[in-house]
């Protein structure tokens, strides 16, 4: 078949990724050596071995995995490389675990510009370095055009647990609800980039690694921090509904206390979306015992990732939470005019409306 061209397949050039890069041959070795290993931190003599051999401190470990796909691959405030690191280290941090090691698997669509890959991998390396985590295992596959969307990245992470592991099922009535900053920044920034909306506001993704914030929170609040949840897909609304149903509590929040950047609120208003249902990549919600809440809030505000931290509500007894007509009704929000309504679990794809 040598020399025969499939009409859909472009020959590999030095400008884009081709199927040859995934063949296991020389092109692939060059790609891994020149483009991937050289910019990733934590590489060790085992880098080209079949498996990494790791030293782990004694005690329990936390282990998680996540896959990443986003369009556009690069957006104001970050790219898919940042997300792939932050998403997984944040999942570890939400169990109170210090992230140590990551694996990175990439599925690259034929035709991805090499420069784009370089920027993504550089960001991945930079994000891992900043999060103090080592990338110790990796895999790269190349698939034909149309079989992926530019690049898909999977990362798995290992971290060491501290003495206390917060849980989504551990919130209790009376807990205060804390967030570390403004809601919806990531989702709106990506949407504007994807749809090429003509918005002049400076809207950037909030993508960030949260362990450095979680560490002082745990130091301040200890076992008083019952639950930590990162507010990714589905935003605050999904996070609160998951906590309420897993913990068997009601949750009541006040929209007047929930931080939302005015420009994010404005874009959401135009598109018919709720900033509470839009994704974040550097935000968490904490359910904290009332006697620990002030200390935790103070610790958050002293950290750059928690400068806009706020107490936005409290957990209630689920039996007294008012029921909505159709939704579970466990989470309620007080509106700008002092009335209350159900804060529903977002349904499916976020679609902009007609008028």
């Amino acid at each position: 078949m040598a020399g025969k061209r499939h009409p859909m397949h472009h020959q590999p050039t030095d400008q884009t990724i081709g199927l040859g890069h995934g063949s296991g041959g020389a092109a692939m070795q060059q790609l891994i050596r020149d483009e991937l290993l050289s910019v990733l931190p934590g590489q060790n003599p085992d880098a080209l071995e079949d498996a990494a051999v790791l030293d782990l401190p004694p005690g329990r470990i936390a282990f998680t995995t996540d896959s990443f796909t986003v369009q556009p691959l690069e957006f104001p405030g970050g790219n898919i490389g940042h997300l792939a690191v932050h998403g997984t280290v944040n999942d570890l941090a939400m169990r109170g675990a210090r992230p140590l090691y990551l694996s990175v698997g990439m599925i690259i669509e034929e035709g991805l510009p090499l420069d784009t890959l370089r920027r993504i991998v550089a960001s991945l390396g930079e994000a891992a370095h900043d999060a103090d985590v080592s990338i110790v295992a990796g895999d790269t596959k190349v698939v034909g055009r149309g079989q992926a969307d530019g690049i898909f990245i999977n990362t798995s992470g290992i971290g060491t647990c501290g003495p206390h592991a917060p849980s989504v099922a551990a919130a209790r009535p009376g807990d205060l609800v804390l967030v570390n900053g403004t809601m919806g920044d990531h989702g709106v920034a990506v949407m504007i980039a994807r749809e090429d909306l003509q918005v002049t506001a400076d809207l950037r993704s909030d993508t960030a690694a949260l362990y450095s914030l979680v560490e002082p929170m745990l130091a301040a609040g200890g076992e008083g921090i019952h639950t930590l949840r990162d507010l990714t897909r589905g935003g605050l609304a999904a996070g609160l509904n998951e906590i309420a149903s897993s913990s068997g509590v009601g949750i009541s929040v006040d929209s007047r206390a929930i931080p939302v950047r005015p420009e994010v609120g404005g874009v959401c208003e135009i598109l018919g979306l709720s900033p509470y249902a839009v994704a974040n990549e550097g935000k968490l919600v904490a359910m904290v015992a009332p006697d620990a809440a002030d200390a935790v809030l103070e610790a958050m505000r002293e950290h750059p990732l928690g400068a806009d931290a706020a107490i936005i509500g409290e957990a209630t007894d689920a039996r007294t939470a008012e029921r909505g007509a159709g939704a579970t009704g466990l989470v309620r929000v007080t509106t700008a005019i002092g009335t209350t309504r159900v804060l529903e679990l977002p349904a499916g794809e976020l679609l902009p409306r007609i008028c």
């Binding site: 018919g272 309504r341 529903e344 409306r353 008028c355």
Partner: protein, 353 residues
Amino acid sequence: MSIAAHCRELADQIAAADPPPMTIMEVCGTHSHAIGRYGIRQLLPESIRLISGPGCPVCVTADSDLDAIVQIAQQGAIIATFGDMVRVIGPRGSLADARAAGVEVRVMYSPMQSLDLAREYPDREVVLIGVGFETTTPAIAVTVSDAASTGLRNFSVYACHKLVPPALEVLIADPDCRIDALLCPGHVSTIIGANAYEFIPRDHGIPCAIAGFTPLDILLGVNSLVNQIVSGEPRVDNCYPRAVQAEGNPKARAQVESVFAVADVDWRGLGMLPDSGLALRAEYSHLDARTRFDLAPPIEIDRGPCICGEVLQGKALPTDCPAFGSACTPQSPIGPCMVSSEGSCAAAYRYGG
């Protein structure tokens, strides 16, 4: 004074008027959602019942049109549409189903994006789904005339635009309808003007108030309707003068009239209504997807217990539907009122009625 305090003050005024039992229909889906989102019913006396009308453009799109749109998609055209239309289930499934099966559906924020799409894919047919009331139509009209003047050959529009006043006339003339007052749509009124509703108090004795979409706007509208009913002097009260003028926007209407002609159109729940919608004028017939594609006759769909048609006419509440909240939810909607973010069932589900 805070917005909350202003709202309370207006709510106190409304209560102080001691309103008799009354049913107010908010015509516009955006009003339904704002009422739910801000919990406005909690501020009103129990004697005031707010019901949703036929003002969600997705919800009133007839099955025959949904069927044709999916057929066009299945014939290989790229469909350019507003997001709300994607998940509405028609006789041949939804556009989301068609997309999962491989057809191309692009969600737009502005209809002009469909022209860019047609230029980007000169070898493909690009079909713009024109849905909406008087507010949306001018932008579609501009898009169509732009396509015509630039000679785009691979672009067409499937228009199912509808007009608000004829639908209101049918609703209030129906002897089964028990609407005491109308909260008229703010955005539509910026185009058609306050004068367009004059026939309603004059010929039918029903008060009208045009309102904007903040909680205060809506309460101002309700307050006006209560005062009109208590005083027995129905009229058209423009409570949204910062956006709406008596004459509306003649320039936008002229743009629409140059591209579209008034026609009989099919409404979900209301059926075929004379002179209640818009069709492309003959000089734009080459851009009409209805004639450009070979469409099979529409097939019927069994929506089981769904009563969206009744809900759209204000004859039933979403919660009256046996499917509401069980078989029909925003995650797996049966009827269009549950699909669109503006639908009355979606509002009732999300915000708890």
